[in-house]
Symmetry: C2
Amino acid sequence: MQIKKYTHQNRMLIAIDCIIFGFDGIHLKLLLIKRGFEPQKGRWSLMGGFVTSDENLDHAAARILKQLTGLTDIYLEQLFAFGDPYRDPTERTVSVAYFALIDINKYEEQISHEYSAEWFPLKKLPSVIFDHKEMIEMAKEKLRYKAAFHPVLFELLPDKFTLPQLQTLYEDVYDAIIDKRNFSRKILSTGLVIKQKDKEKNGSKKGAFYYKLDKRKYQAKFDSFLNLIPNPHSLK
Amino acid sequence: MQIKKYTHQNRMLIAIDCIIFGFDGIHLKLLLIKRGFEPQKGRWSLMGGFVTSDENLDHAAARILKQLTGLTDIYLEQLFAFGDPYRDPTERTVSVAYFALIDINKYEEQISHEYSAEWFPLKKLPSVIFDHKEMIEMAKEKLRYKAAFHPVLFELLPDKFTLPQLQTLYEDVYDAIIDKRNFSRKILSTGLVIKQKDKEKNGSKKGAFYYKLDKRKYQAKFDSFLNLIPNPHSLK
DNA sequence: GGTAATAATTGTCAATGATACAATTATTAA
DNA sequence: TTAATAATTGTATCATTGACAATTATTACC
């Protein structure tokens, strides 16, 4: 006996939109594309696409991220499902937003030029289509929330990085100035980083030691609660 | 000029499923219904329904929650979008799960009997259809995560409650024994509760003072980070 | 070769917050 | 009056956090 389909119900499009964060050493940035089709052709937009019939949401998000960046094995987390009836005026579309954290340098190597993509500092975003502004705001908030307790920001850094670089990243994410002594003590006390023997020497006479992430400890400790920024109680 | 619809894309059903938590004074419980239609008719299931063409996701969730419980103005938060291609074998359906926290007593007054619903303690859940088990597990985890820092568990209590009741709730949610002295000090120091003049006297000779939530402070402090359970660092 | 400039690295003290731990109080029932 | 029950209350120790500045390594210039 064949099972009947649900009748008298509305079927809708399911889209994925990706909020892609990168860090250039100074500022946290977002990767936007120029939309290549109507409606709103030519305006800035998050990278997105429709979920196909044989893939789940995570797969769709990874596929779409790879289309644009060429990258796989990227940190990707479901953010929220956006479903206002008229969020896309063309047709009812529920969009599941994902946020991604990538090493901006790896991206530059692999970039696809099909989409005329561009990095924008978070404080200088252009106007974007549909409800993408709302998605971006939520992603920023979730990133700040998460990074206050979980070492997720390492996903934005290259393999080798320095403590001052890491601190600059935290300071930009939280728009705050952090005390160097307290910061390094806190980071080192997590045991997540391993000091290297070589130094980075750009723009510094003394040079700063490189560190690498201890991937075992990173995975083991990722879900537990660390205390990574000062005064997390004043966070939203 | 009329805007064209997106062509060559798959349209799918969008469902909502509600993970409804309640607290009976002893244990945290979940409200399940006996599914009234095929497939899987007669098995236990989360309360759910399809999103209609003119409502957004939050509205759909509130509507579905009201259908079952009769309650409005309930704490309701989007949990996650579940989209495995065959999660519902009938037809491709993406389900957006919401979790709700309700005062179990209010529910008993308003209950709809259309759905043969039943409360189950979290540790004695029956087998449920589709991927509902996964939804429930994620909701439990998110509740524990959230309640460690935000005073969300008050949503489960009646207007007037005692500190021992509140503590029992926390102990059940975290499956832990909490020191009474430390717990009351912590709760009182948040300034979120107001001591009443009357006592609750069931099963206690001395009786425990009632408290009420200070709703102004509750709203003001909800998003900030309180430290509501001991050793949150060992949380997942 | 010495010196100035630059940025990285390192340490201490005070305040705060968290935890462990038990005696006292209010009430009822026998 | 006493025993039983559960609520209420306090303190001392320990760990964490935050505030704060001097020293070190290196380079470029004189």
